[in-house]
Structures are given as C-alpha cells and as structure tokens.
C-alpha cells in the first residue's frame, strides 16, 4: 500500500521536480542524461523508453510508436522540443536514434510474429507442405519418409500420423521455428532430437518445440524479452532474431531437462514452468543476451 502511494506521488510530483533540479544542475534534459550516462543496449534503451512514454510532450510520447521511415524526423522534433543542439551534445542524435529504432522495432517484431502465428498450417498450401517435408529431411536425412501421412512422424515427436493438427495456436510460427533451428544448427538439432528419444528421459521433440515457441511468444508479448533484444540487436530486430531466441530455448531446455532427470514426460509442465522462471531470471540482468550464436554458427 505504502509502495503504491509512493509510486503515485513519485510519478505525479517528485519525478517532475527531480528532473527539473537535475536539469538546472547538469544543464541537460533527462533524455540527454540517459543517452550519455548509460551503456548502449538495455540499460540505455529501457530508460529512454520509460522517459519517452511518461513524457508530458506529445512529440516525445509518440516517438515510441513511429514508423521506421519517420524516426529521423522524430529525433529532430524531439531535439527541437527539448532545445538540444548537436554542437553541444554531438553523440545525442545518433544515440537517441538507435534507442527509438529498438523501441519501435520491438513492437513491429511482435506484430510480425503475431501474423505468422495466426497463419494456420494448411495442407492445401504447397509452401506449408514443402516446409514440413523440409523439416523431416533436416532431422532425418538418412531416412526416407514413406508417405505424407505416416506413423514415422512420431519419430520426430509429432503426436499422430499427420502433423497438421499439432501446430494449433502457434500456427506457422511453430513450424518456422522448428525448421529454422534445424537449418541453422543442423547438428545441434539432431543432437537434441536424439536426446528426445532417450529411453527414460525421452520427450516428444516437435511437440515440446511447439510448446517452446509458445514460451518465446508469450515472453515477447509480455515485453519480457525487451532487455534481450535491446542488448543483442542495435537497430530494428527482425523475425530471424526471434527464431534465434527460439533456438536458444530449444537447446537450453533440452540441456535443462536432461540434467534435471524428471521421472516421466508427465512432469513436462512443471519443468517447463521451472525452466521459464530460470529464463525470466536471466532476463532481469541488465546485460542479458540469450544467444546460441557463439556456440556454433555453422
């Protein structure tokens, strides 16, 4: 309760006066202090985002949702509004530009991910079908798929003899993630697949993958992934960056599962929860970047 009262007074009164005093003392506005005082990446961009969103000026507030081609104009408008001169603060413009690209880029990334998720897997669509067969060939290059509808799909962890019903609420996002992992990190994905066929610790590779897509998606939607993308992508993040994050989750979850040695697959949801908490903890660190890239980029 006290916390709420403090929060209220802070955001509506103290913050304003504190900013005013700091401005008089340092001669710089809050955005300038953020851009020069904090490291590039999440420490700077998260603060800039908060500052812009809670600003009283419309020019600043709208900066968090401008289109990519309007960013330059937006930065100029902010500098005018705040009376900032490039001669006095030469790095400000470039720094703020990166921040705004990152902030608006995250929102755009969510939209692209959401669109792909909403695309339902359709057996009549050749591109979808080709992608599914590609997944098989990447995971099982030495085994021929006997027919499109076959029990063999169970070997890569689909539930029945036709994977089309397994993508559910994740749609083409789920399949795209699976294919990306296998294409970019072929050896790693085959290694994870072989773990999933472990006689005691086995799990359904594809189904667990689709569940991890859901994890990545909900973390993105909740904004929890902001620090990761602000640190990892110094500009506009794209779908590929989201797929990279999926690869990290797929690889790390497998490692976690094998180490934890659950008694059976029936415990999946408890361990999924535990793993997600672990990832969220990592995402609280200011310099977080969840990446597989250094490990083996083939």
């Amino acid at each position: 309760m006290l916390g709420y009262i403090w929060q209220y007074f802070y955001t509506s009164f103290f913050r304003f006066w504190l900013k005013w005093i700091l401005r008089q003392v340092t001669g710089k506005c809050e955005l300038q202090r953020i851009c020069s005082g904090y490291k590039q990446g999440a420490p700077r961009t998260s603060r800039a985002e908060y500052s812009l969103e809670s600003s009283k000026s419309k020019a600043l507030r709208s900066a968090v949702s401008v289109d990519e081609d309007q960013v330059e104009k937006c930065v100029v408008a902010i500098m005018q509004e705040k009376n900032i001169h490039s001669q006095k603060d030469p790095t400000f413009k470039a720094n703020l530009r990166v921040c705004i690209f990152q902030i608006t880029g995250y929102k755009k990334l969510y939209n692209s991910v959401e669109n792909l998720r909403k695309e339902v897997f359709d057996s009549e669509n050749k591109a979808h079908e080709d992608m599914l067969l590609k997944l098989w060939n990447l995971l099982k290059p030495s085994v021929k798929l006997e027919s499109r509808i076959t029990k063999q799909w169970g070997d890569v962890g689909f539930q029945g003899d036709d994977p089309k019903t397994d993508f559910r609420g994740m749609g083409m996002l789920g399949l795209t993630n699976l294919v990306f992992f296998s294409e970019r990190y072929t050896d790693l994905s085959q290694q994870v697949l072989s773990h999933s066929n472990h006689p005691k610790l086995g799990y359904s590779y594809a189904i667990v993958g689709i569940n991890l897509t859901e994890m990545a998606y909900s973390l993105l939607k909740a904004g929890t992934l902001k620090p990761h993308f602000y640190n990892g992508v110094l500009g506009v993040p794209h779908l590929e960056h989201f797929h990279q994050l999926y690869c990290y989750l797929a690889y790390e979850f497998d490692k976690f599962w094998m180490e934890e040695e659950p008694t059976s697959i029936m415990e999946f949801n408890q361990y999924r929860e535990k793993f997600q908490e672990k990832v969220k903890k990592l995402l609280e660190q200011p310099d977080v970047s969840l990446s597989l890239r250094e490990l083996s980029d083939q």
């Binding site: 169970g154 539930q159 029945g160 019903t165 789920g174 909900s218 697959i265 029936m266 949801n269």
Partner: protein, 190 residues
C-alpha cells in the same frame, strides 16, 4: 402426514448443506484422443484465452468454482505415447469427461476403443461419464446422436452417462454439460 418438527429440521439441513457445499472438492478427469479439444475445454471452463493452445505434453490441472463445487479438472495429454499414463490419474475420480473431435471421422473407431477400455477399468467403475461431442462449430462435425450410436453408448448399464454436443472454442453447449456434471456429483456424493 408431516409432523410439526420436520420443517425446521429440513431447513437446518439445507442451511448446513449450503454452508458446507462450497468446500466440496470434486475430481474430474478429462480424457480423449489428441486434438479432441481437452485443453481448449479446460481453458474455456476457467474462462481463459483459448487462442494460444499448444499440444499437451503431460497434463494440465485447473480448479474451477462451479455451482457450489470446487472442480479440480485434470486434463491429460491424448497422444498415443502417453495414453499408458492415463491410469495413474484414475484414482478417486468423481466424474469422467470424455472428449471427442466430432469432425475426425477417421478416428471414431480409435476413440470408441479407448472409451470402451476406460469403461472396463476397475478404478473407474460406476464413475459417471459425460461424453462431449466437441467441435460442433465445424461444418463436417457429426451430430451427437450419430456419435452416441457409433460408440454404442446405449449399451452402458453400469453407470449414468450423458452425451452433450458442444464447441469448446465458442463455448456453446459447455455449460449444459457442466450442469449435468454438477447434478450428478451431488447424487453420487450423498
């Protein structure tokens, strides 16, 4: 016929029942083939968003307050690989809800077999069964009567049962089924 003192006693027992009923916990088991719609049904019962469902590895459980009961609903994955685990969840089940994808005609036989095996299980003997003929929102869905006939439900003699047409996605028919469930827990638990 009625003696003057029965009325207040009856009232007292009703009051007592009203007081104790919210605490009554009920164990409901949700089974059926993969892609039948069990998790969507579970989320619908808990009034949660049903647009991000993924296939269930293992199980989900949710507690739902309904008509004076606390329903602990266990949604167990329906994939063939994990059906052998179903039996681990039989104990103390008050009501079995069996979910069928009414549009998946190719697997009517398979789902009928699984249901028949469940009804043979000793730990589930006498447990009331509600069959949800799900996905009625799809054009190709078979009507509930046709499914009941295909599954030979009318030959069930050792328990009360009901078939309910529904769509877990639109929630149509779900409440009717749950009303039947709650009515039949009451008679069983007395």
């Amino acid at each position: 016929m009625m003696s003057p003192c029965t009325a207040p006693q009856g009232l007292l027992s009703i009051l007592r029942k009203l007081k104790s009923s919210p605490d009554q916990e009920v164990r409901i088991l949700l089974l059926g083939l993969d892609n039948a719609g069990k998790t969507t049904l579970l989320k619908q019962l808990a009034s949660e968003d049903v647009s991000h469902i993924t296939p269930t590895q293992g199980f989900n459980i949710k507690s739902v307050q309904s008509q004076g009961f606390k329903l602990n609903v266990w949604d167990i994955g329906g994939q063939r690989k994990i059906r052998p685990y179903w039996r681990n969840y039989f104990e103390n089940t008050d009501v079995l809800i069996y979910v069928i994808d009414s549009a998946d005609r190719k697997r009517f036989e398979e789902t009928g077999q699984e249901l028949a095996e469940l009804l043979e299980e000793e730990k589930l003997s006498g447990v009331p069964v509600l069959v949800f003929a799900n996905k009625q929102d799809l054009m190709t869905a078979a009507p509930a009567a046709e499914i009941a006939e295909g599954l030979n439900l009318h030959t069930i003699r050792d328990r009360i049962w009901q078939i309910q047409a529904c769509s877990a996605v639109t929630s149509e028919g779900v409440q009717d089924g749950m009303t039947w469930v709650c009515k039949n827990i009451a008679t069983r638990k007395k």
